[in-house]
């Protein structure tokens, strides 16, 4: 018997697995390199394909079908999985809602903080701008006055580079009813109405004013008390301060 005849003789035993373990390994190692044996093994397997059904069928025990499905799919079958995972689903939903709530709250808080930061930033930039005018002022004018027993004053920091003024008015009580404190620019073409100054005794009024577009060169400023309804282009009321550059 040549070596290959041994394989030829033992093909059926290999298929039905009655070879001793050592012989079975030898045969298995032979197969990849022998097309003839592979082909014949395939034929034998095909011929005997239904032989296992010589065994009588067995009645599956209750629950086996579900276990087989779960085992093959690698997870609980869908119906079981769905019901058993309700707590997890509810937990996830609750977490999601909680997360959304927290997000909304934090988002709102974040927006508030953003607004606050923007406001502070604007205030800071304003303060820096004001300070830059004061520090860069080419002229500082000051006037003191008395009104109804109150000692007040007006100070002007004039910045010739930015053509703006910082004006501080202090020491005055709130304007009498029906009247307002009115700031005026004194120009070479006459008086130009500026801003209305709102005051109380405790807090000075602080204003940053650009130069008026009309009226020509600005020569100075004045603070008067005017009737609230007065819109005349020239001061009509009492003059509290009058400063010339």
């Amino acid at each position: 018997m040549n070596p290959h005849e041994w394989f030829v003789v033992h093909r059926t035993e290999f298929v039905i697995r009655t070879l001793e373990p050592g012989d079975e390994r030898t045969f298995a190692e032979h197969l990849p390199g022998c097309a003839e044996c592979r082909e014949e093994i395939g034929r034998i397997e095909h011929d005997l394909a239904w032989l296992p059904m010589g065994a009588s069928p067995a009645v599956p025990r209750p629950g086996l079908k579900r276990r087989l499905l779960e085992g093959a799919l690698g997870s609980p079958v869908r119906r079981w999985r769905w019901t058993s995972q309700w707590p997890a689903i509810i937990g996830i939903a609750a977490s999601l809602l909680l997360g959304l709530g927290l997000y909304a709250r934090e988002h709102a808080r974040s927006e508030t903080l953003t607004r606050q930061v923007a406001q502070l930033d604007a205030a800071l930039r304003g303060a820096q701008d004001t300070l830059s005018i004061i520090r860069g002022a080419s002229r500082v004018l000051q006037a003191s006055f008395t009104m109804d027993g109150h000692n007040g004053g007006m100070t002007i920091f004039a910045d010739s580079h930015s053509h703006r003024w910082n004006v501080v008015v202090h020491g005055l009580p709130a304007a009498p009813a029906g009247e307002v404190y009115q700031f005026w620019f004194i120009c070479d073409n006459g008086m130009i109405r500026g801003v209305t100054v709102h005051l109380d005794e405790k807090t000075p009024a602080f204003m940053t004013l650009p130069m008026p577009e009309a009226g020509g060169t600005v020569l100075g400023a004045a603070l008067t008390v005017e009737l609230d309804a007065n819109t005349a282009p020239e001061p009509q009321g009492k003059t509290l301060a009058h400063l010339m550059l």
Binding site: R17, T18, S56, A58, R67, L73
Partner: protein, 213 residues
């Protein structure tokens, strides 16, 4: 269990026996759906094939729990390596049967290595069939029953000494030397009986593949 002598064992006329396991079209459809990872196809296959897979595993292992584990492994292999189905020409059920039987043999041999064959044989008693159970009235209607009857008839046609060797070899998973020891006959005699028996079985069972699916 394999050669149950009872009224349900027919004459081998398969045309009058119970339903087929799967029609040719049905098997093709099932195979396509498995390849498409259709879980419902797996459910249908489990319904049809499990009784027969359990039959062979319980016959070999004589342990219902271990038999179910082997069937479980077979279905898991099928689902995870469903791509191999295309290349397998012998059909879906035969492929599953072969996987199942091979896994059962592996377990049997591992078990025997651990316990020792003699002890195992004593615990099982004799060659007989301890797991034989009564035939249920509606069993003949079970899908695949006609295949069982055909195989049954082919086995019954073997001489008794060859049948005994086939039963030990194929349905109980013994090697040739183990069979020789169990039957108290020379190894060469076992080989001869098995060779003769399987030559006959091939001739008898081969036509099954033409119509069974």
């Amino acid at each position: 269990m394999i050669l149950r002598r009872n009224a349900a064992a027919g004459s081998g006329d398969t045309s009058r026996a119970g339903g087929r396991l799967l029609s040719l079209e049905g098997e093709r459809s099932l195979r396509d759906r498995l390849l498409a990872r259709d879980e419902q196809a797996l459910v249908e296959l489990i319904d049809v094939a499990t009784p027969w897979l359990l039959g062979i595993t319980q016959s070999m292992l004589s342990d219902p729990d271990e038999a179910e584990e082997v069937v479980q492994e077979a279905f898991t292999i099928l689902w995870n390596r469903v791509d191999l189905l295309d290349a397998n020409a012998s059909g879906l059920i035969p492929w599953l049967l072969r996987i199942t039987r091979n896994r059962a043999i592996d377990r049997l041999r591992a078990r025997r290595r651990q316990r020792g064959k003699a002890q195992r044989l004593e615990s099982l008693g004799a060659l007989g069939d301890p797991s034989v159970r009564p035939v249920e009235p509606d069993e003949a209607a079970r899908p695949g029953w006609h295949v069982h009857e055909s195989v049954h008839a082919a086995l019954r046609a073997l001489p008794e000494d060859q049948l005994a060797a086939v039963r030990l070899a194929y349905f109980e998973g013994y090697t040739q030397s183990e069979i020789a020891e169990r039957l108290g006959i020379p190894l060469g005699t076992v080989k001869t009986r098995l060779r003769l028996a399987f030559d006959k079985l091939r001739g008898t069972l081969a036509p099954l593949k033409e119509w069974v699916i």
